[in-house]
């Protein structure tokens, strides 16, 4: 297990090194610079150059690279040009918002996805199975930004039941928080519900044909007991892997959803950084997201290895 962990960690370090280099290379890869956000269309190149000096963007690229690595090795992600504060502080400030959005979406996706998958598997090839799977396909196919707008139109404009956007912190007003997170979390969860439902169905169908399931049936257990106590735990291993992937996807999906619902999360920070060429935010944000992804994958790998010994013996 220790060797397995060491191998996984070494792999993560290599990936991080590559991501850090790519994050820095953004300065060359992306045309334009942050002065465009500060100045209007008729600003002269001289004005832009002055501002570049003010913002410290005129330093030689090698020096900037050295500064970048010396900073990130100390855990300092840099200073945002537009927000005028440290990138780490800006990310940490927004992280609870994005995590609560992704967290609620993950819980919704797992609950709804597993339930839908179970219903479909148990009713294999019957109309309920077909209906659930068609709905899952719809969920997988619908663009999240469109769904978000449709939900706003229905629940906010027509019914006036929920706010159209914005975010209320949990510690400020729990009910307000739930109301502000309901539509974006649902929108974010819909695609993943379809994904998890399909995986659960496939996994359950495999388990349902196993000998021990027949034995459980033969013992005279109720159908519900057989499925939930004997079937589901055995079908969970692939679902766990999927949940890891889904957690990453939800963080990625949050970028779009935060735009649609005007939620001040990490995704919006990075999008804002990209549109205004706030390099430290783009670089720090990318590195941060990479660390989160690697962390989630690592946890899933370890859990998987813990549950299934074959994985760590390979």
């Amino acid at each position: 297990m220790v060797r397995f962990l060491a191998k996984r960690l070494a792999g993560a370090v290599v990936v991080l090194a590559i991501v850090s280099l790519l994050s820095f290379a953004i300065i060359w890869l992306v045309p334009g610079d942050p002065t465009a956000a500060f100045l209007d269309a008729s600003a002269t190149p001289e004005q832009a150059e002055r501002l570049r000096r003010e913002l410290g963007l005129d330093k030689p690229i090698l020096l900037q690279m050295l500064e970048w690595y010396s900073r990130i090795l100390r855990g300092d992600l840099g200073h945002s040009i537009l927000l005028n504060r440290s990138v780490a502080a800006a990310i940490l400030e927004r992280l609870p918002i994005t995590l609560s959005l992704a967290g609620v979406a993950l819980v919704l996706a797992i609950l709804a996805g597993v339930a839908a998958g179970l219903v479909a598997a148990v009713n294999h090839n019957r109309w309920l199975d077909q209906t659930v799977m068609t709905a899952a396909l719809f969920g997988l196919s619908v663009p999240d930004f469109w769904l978000g707008i449709m939900l706003i139109l229905l629940f906010s404009v027509k019914l006036g039941a929920l706010p159209t956007g914005g975010f209320v912190p949990l510690d400020e007003d729990p009910v307000g928080w739930l109301r502000s997170i309901a539509l974006p979390a649902t929108t974010l969860a819909v695609i993943q519900v379809g994904f998890i439902a399909r995986m659960t169905r496939a996994s359950m169908l495999e388990v349902l044909n196993q000998d021990f399931m027949r034995t459980a049936d033969a013992k005279g257990l109720t159908r519900l007991d057989v499925v939930l106590r004997h079937g589901l735990p055995n079908a969970l291993v692939p679902i766990l892997t999927v949940a890891g992937i889904v957690a990453g996807a939800l963080l990625g999906g949050a970028v779009i959803i935060e735009q649609v619902f005007a939620i001040p999360g990490v995704g919006r920070l990075i999008i804002g950084g990209i549109l205004s060429r706030d390099y430290p935010v783009i670089q720090g944000g990318l590195l941060f997201v990479a660390v989160i992804y690697l962390g989630v994958n690592l946890v899933v790998d370890v859990l998987y290895a813990a549950i299934d010994p074959r994985v760590r013996l390979q």
Partner: protein, 513 residues
């Protein structure tokens, strides 16, 4: 002998005209207005950014020595007036007494000097003060500015709202760009800035209005605030903005598209405002690269284009056909020299193209991803195809395009709007073409006219110089003006006495219960 320019009187007159309607309505104090804006301001340090979205907020918090009235004419704001020496090189500004900053401190000459000096160092349009030699506090409430040379547009520059020369307390003005506390003398004080969410400002109860002003007047005038607070919510997604308005969470949409305005037109709880003209649509040529370096080629393009088609497609329901390089109603506005505007003559275009050196090579039209700009580029591309010009569109986001467009290679055409320049006046309209900045090659005629306009103290002469500039823009097809466009603003009917302007002014308006 020195002469007084009694701009105060002019301001009074304009203010009376501007404030006439609406004043008889029942005014009511209180309430919070939420305005949906498309993006967050890059900074609330007004001096360091010329972004429109920043002005929307900062011009509520800060004031300037001189500000623009309803017709964009400079009038005193924190200054009582100005005394200009006969040689036009010394400006003495008496500063209004009793004006308070949001931190309770009294405004004095040292604050003004420190703020102007800071602008020269970090201002986004520091060139506005290029003519300044020295700035001195000549007594506690008097500032004297000595110019290196006569500059007829000095007061225009001083009152420019583009990156406003905001007056800060001296201790804030001592701080570097973007490091200040947001303290001004304006009718609203800063409350909070939640990144990626909103900016909130509240009525400044210690505000001392300009005693010479009687009513709302452009960015100057009487700034009476009835609202308790104003929240500018950053909402990048148009659909979400519109939904928030319809759900009653937002009271004013700073900008909305035509279809939304049309849809909400019949709603009695909604008022649609047309801000027209708000900007010019301009098609620029790169003069540093053939064939757009060739005046005959440019004239061929000018002759062939149907500007009505361009405007009708790019800005349906909110455009004006106008060839003048200023807004209608502006002091120097004239139609002299614009006879070549919007000829839409394909045959003439073909004939001119045949005389040019163009051999059918592929040309690059750079354009940002704003829908209206892409539409303009597409219409131009299709129209010019009819006379045999082969154009490829290169679409990218604004930071990319704005960088590429100020280099001499890699592009032939570029289109975007000019909004604040025509509002500011003739010198600002000419400035982008001086030293070949926008066309990438010096144009001696423009440089000469601009220098002459800068030093022309006689208004008649200045007017003539602008006419010459306008004619030159058409005779040489330096760049093409397609037309004026506007924007729709949508407000709740409960928002009373709101009149659209270059920024959504929140003074003089109130919320009905």
């Amino acid at each position: 002998m020195k002469r007084w320019i009694d701009v105060g009187l002019a301001a009074l007159g304009a203010a009376i005209i501007a404030s006439a309607p609406g004043t008889a309505l029942a005014q009511r104090k209180g309430g919070d207005v939420v305005i949906a804006i498309v993006q967050a301001p890059p900074s609330l340090d007004a001096q360091v950014t010329s972004a429109q979205v920043a002005r929307n907020v900062t011009l509520h918090i800060y004031e300037t020595l001189y500000a623009r009235d309803e017709k964009a004419k400079p009038v005193p704001e924190l200054a009582e007036g100005v005394k200009i020496s006969e040689d036009g090189k010394t400006y003495v500004f008496p500063i209004r007494r009793g004006v308070k900053f949001h931190n309770g401190k009294d405004l004095d000459a040292n604050d003004v000097v420190a703020s102007l000096e800071r602008y020269r160092k970090v201002g986004a349009s520091a060139a506005l003060l290029n003519a300044v030699d020295t700035i001195r506090a000549t007594n506690s409430h008097e500032v004297t500015i000595a110019l290196k040379e006569t500059q007829s547009i000095f007061l225009d520059n001083l009152s420019s709202p583009r990156a406003p020369i905001a007056i800060y307390p001296a201790e804030e003005a001592a701080k570097p760009a973007n490091q200040i506390n947001y303290i001004g003398t304006g009718p609203f004080r800063f409350v909070e800035y939640k990144p990626d969410s909103h900016v909130k400002i509240a009525r400044f109860d210690g505000y001392v209005p300009n005693p010479n002003a009687t009513g709302r007047d452009g960015l100057a005038g009487k700034k009476e605030v009835f609202l308790d607070s104003v929240t500018f919510r950053f909402m990048p997604e148009a659909g979400a903005r519109n939904a928030a308005f319809e759900a009653g969470e937002v009271q004013l949409l700073e900008t909305a598209d035509g279809p939304t305005a049309k849809r909400l037109e019949s709603n009695k709880n909604t008022v649609i405002y047309k801000v027209l003209p708000f900007a010019f649509q301009v098609i620029k040529f790169n003069h540093a690269q053939p064939p757009t370096s060739d005046v005959t080629f440019r004239l061929a393009v000018q002759a062939a284009l149907d500007m009505e088609e361009v405007m009708a497609i790019s800005y349906p329901d909110i455009y004006q056909m106008d060839g003048a390089w200023l807004y209608p109603g502006a002091p120097f506005y004239t139609n002299e020299g614009v006879s070549k505007y919007n000829k839409a003559d394909l045959e003439a275009g073909k004939a001119l193209l045949a005389k040019s050196g163009y051999k059918g090579e592929k040309l690059t039209f750079i354009v940002d991803n704003l829908r209206a700009n892409m539409d303009t580029a597409t219409v131009v591309q299709q129209r010019l195809k009819d006379i045999g010009v082969n154009i490829e569109l290169s679409v990218a986001d604004w930071p990319t395009v704005s960088k590429a467009g100020f280099t001499p290679t890699g592009w032939h055409f570029w289109t975007h709007g000019y909004g604040i320049e025509p509002y500011e006046g003739p010198a600002s309209v000419m400035a982008p073409w001086v030293n070949g900045t926008s066309q990438q090659k010096r144009d001696e005629t423009i440089d000469r006219l601009y220098a002459a306009l800068n030093s022309a103290m006689d208004e008649r002469k200045a007017r003539q110089l602008f006419v010459e500039f306008q004619a030159h823009m058409y005779d040489d097809a330096v760049a093409l003006k397609a037309g004026n466009y506007g924007l729709f603003q949508i407000g709740t009917a409960k928002l009373k006495n709101f009149t659209p302007y270059r920024i959504p002014r929140m003074w003089g308006v109130w919320l009905e219960q």
